[in-house]
């Protein structure tokens, strides 16, 4: 039983004192970040990124992963109590969570979403454990053409499937790849796009880029918009968290369906936890015998989505760890951490770094148990966190960003880069360009160029290589389908908007808004 041996080894790694501490720290910070609106997971991870330089790669990854799934736990708190999603993945939880809080059942909702989150995450971790080694084994056969095709599919899918205009997403990816090419070309040692700046020889700093585009730009947009709100402390008193038997009975199947939906969409590039949560909500509403209860505090409406987004958080690691191809910007950051620590991502990761892989997976269990323990008794504390005024919070966050950027190379150039990317991120938001594809393109750009050039050398300059090798051809065809679908769906969205503008009925109906996101 090789699997059990590996799991035991991983558990040993995860339970070492250092890793346990950083797992706890990550989960705690993640929950805090998730609770506070106006501070996203990408901003948080990039802000705490420099801290991880001084750690072992395994410990670094354990902490950052803890932040990633911790935010999803914490995000539901703000959704339920304030009707403000802490993270986009928790947006649907508002629809039924907030009505529950208004009925005085906020404590029940918080307790049950924590349970759902734990259930979904466990489901995702089991799939991650079973499938990652199998996929990695299969991927050992991949050549450069396959890798290029996979990365292309990841980039195209993540820029077109997510919200907003597909063409802007594609443009953002392209700009990201161009930023990724700055610095020394690995094959010929030619310095590109450095414009004589010596510090740019090693390329644009991933940390500065992520902190600028997600941290600084987000702060600029949130200043004077995010307000701390008053909450009724009575509604979240501990005595009010016990669910009724009816609540429990209603929750089983939504949790199971949510976990399945979430696990599937977590692995696909471009979809991830937000889309999984929306879909799960739509499914629950459709299979329910009493769909009219949705939007008025139906417990199924929070259990399904919260289970789905946590499952997706975990299964998002499958392509990242087995293929080295991240499907989302957060996963790209995780990959960036690995590369900065000198660990080569790809199908060999599991066999070359078994401690890292199995330790990370087992730390997910540990982290989720920590979150379960952390969330339920500390609900009152999270609620109080929400009342921290933003005008105190954002200068401190900026300060941490600057110190982090400076200490990542002890060069003020990194801070200037943060400012530059902060302005770029701000301009991108004005013009409604998504930031996540840019980061993904930035991380994958150099790898893509390398595989592209190598594939072309092997085929002696014949572009048909991407369509002649069967695996690559299938992936290229899927990429084409995604592109076609995005063109078609943007067209149909436009006609639907026109008919709705003509009809003008049902405006502002939150339930139907959630439906539209998914159909």
């Amino acid at each position: 039983m090789e699997l059990f041996g590996n799991l035991a080894m991983g558990l040993g790694v995860a339970l070492s004192l250092t890793n346990l501490f950083y797992c706890f720290l990550g989960a705690l910070l993640g929950t805090i970040v998730g609770v506070i609106p106006g501070l996203g997971v990408l901003a948080a991870i990039s802000m705490l990124f420099p801290l991880t330089f001084h750690l072992e790669p395994t410990t670094a990854l354990i902490m950052l992963a803890g932040i990633w799934y911790g935010t999803t736990y914490g995000g539901s708190t703000a959704s339920i109590l304030l009707n403000l999603p802490g993270t986009p993945a928790n947006a649907v939880t508002c629809l039924d969570g907030y009505p529950m809080a208004k009925q005085g059942r906020g404590g029940v909702a918080l307790f049950m979403t924590t349970v759902a989150s734990f259930f979904g995450a466990s489901f995702g971790i089991i799939l991650l454990t079973l499938f990652t080694p199998v996929i990695a084994d299969y991927a050992l056969r991949f050549g450069s053409a396959e890798y290029f095709a996979l990365m292309l599919m990841g980039l195209v899918a993540s820029s077109t499937v997510s919200e907003g205009s597909a063409i802007k997403g594609l443009a953002a990816v392209t700009i990201g790849i161009i930023f990724g090419l700055v610095g020394m070309d690995t094959q010929t040692a030619t310095v590109r796009f450095s414009f004589g700046v010596l510090g740019l020889l090693e390329g644009v700093s991933l940390i500065a880029l992520a902190m600028g585009i997600f941290g600084v730009a987000e702060i600029i947009m949130s200043v004077r918009r995010v307000r701390a709100t008053d909450i009724d402390p009575e509604s979240v008193k501990l005595k009010a968290i016990k669910p009724t038997r009816d609540d429990v009975r209603r929750s089983w199947f939504p949790m199971l369906r949510g976990a399945t939906i979430g696990s599937f969409f977590g692995t696909l590039p471009g979809t991830g936890p937000s889309i999984a949560a929306f879909l799960s909500y739509a499914v629950e509403k459709r299979v329910s015998k009493t769909p009219e209860r949705f939007g008025n505090g139906a417990i199924e409406g929070i259990m399904g989505p919260e289970s789905a987004n946590n499952a997706a958080d975990q299964t998002a690691f499958i392509p990242t760890l087995s293929l080295g191809v991240p499907g989302s910007a957060t996963m790209a950051l995780m990959l960036g951490v690995l590369m900065i620590h000198g660990v080569a991502p790809g199908p060999n990761l599991i066999s070359n770094q078994p401690e890292l892989f199995w330790g990370l997976i087992m730390s997910f269990w540990v982290g989720n148990v920590i979150l379960l323990l952390l969330n339920i008794p500390l609900i009152g504390l999270w609620v109080r966190m929400l009342t921290i005024p933003y005008h105190l919070l954002y200068p401190a966050v900026l300060m941490f960003i600057c110190i982090g950027a400076y200490t990542s190379g002890f060069s003020p150039l990194n801070i200037w880069m943060v400012a530059a990317f902060g302005s770029i991120g701000f301009v991108m938001r004005i013009f409604r360009f998504p930031g996540a594809p840019l980061l993904l393109g930035f991380v994958l750009g150099p790898l893509m160029e390398e595989h592209f050039r190598r594939a072309m050398v092997l085929s002696r300059g014949d572009f048909a290589v991407f369509f002649e090798r069967p695996i690559s051809a299938v992936i290229m065809a899927l990429t084409g389908l995604v592109l076609l679908w995005s063109v078609w769906s943007s067209e149909s969205l436009r006609t639907r908007r026109k008919t709705r503008a003509a009809g003008r009925n049902g405006a502002g109906d939150k339930g139907s808004a959630a439906d539209e996101e998914t159909t």
Partner: protein, 149 residues
């Protein structure tokens, strides 16, 4: 409301210019090689062209639809970015604590409301907390105070 989506037209025009610039730089300054053995200029040159094509498509789409006026604010970005710039300028010659005070004071002006008491408390608190985390806990070599003259 604009009759045409001028925001996206401007964005499209920018993409075309940026893409053209990337391609021009690659073709002029870096060896192109050939398709079977690519030089460092080939891949970025291609990307520049692709970006420009995206810009054209975006601009054409914008011609067909009305657009909203973008919400541009001047003071929030100005003070936030000025705070970061001040930190970058101060940290090496003067050390960590003056840099912390500089960024806290300048960036909190982005709120367009000056709260002297809470600002002073947060400056004091952060000047203690940040050295505690970065210097004491993580053991980084960061001078707290310096006088360059």
């Amino acid at each position: 409301m604009y009759r045409r989506d001028y925001t996206d037209m401007a964005a499209g025009a920018f993409l075309v210019l940026f893409g053209a610039g990337v391609t021009y730089t690659s073709v002029t300054y870096y060896p192109m090689g050939n398709v079977g053995r690519m030089g460092p200029g080939m891949f970025p040159a291609g990307l520049g062209v692709i970006l420009a094509v995206f810009g054209v498509i975006l601009g054409l789409q914008a011609l067909r639809r009305p657009g909203e006026k973008p919400d541009i604010r001047v003071f929030s970005p100005f003070f936030v970015l000025a705070g970061i710039a001040a930190f970058a300028a101060v940290i090496v010659p003067f050390g960590l604590i003056p840099a912390i005070v500089a960024i806290l004071v300048i960036s909190s002006m982005a709120d367009l409301k000056i709260r002297p008491v809470s600002l002073a408390i947060s400056c004091l608190g952060m000047s203690l907390f940040a050295p505690f985390v970065f210097v004491f806990c993580l053991g980084l070599q960061l001078p707290l105070l310096r006088w360059p003259f």
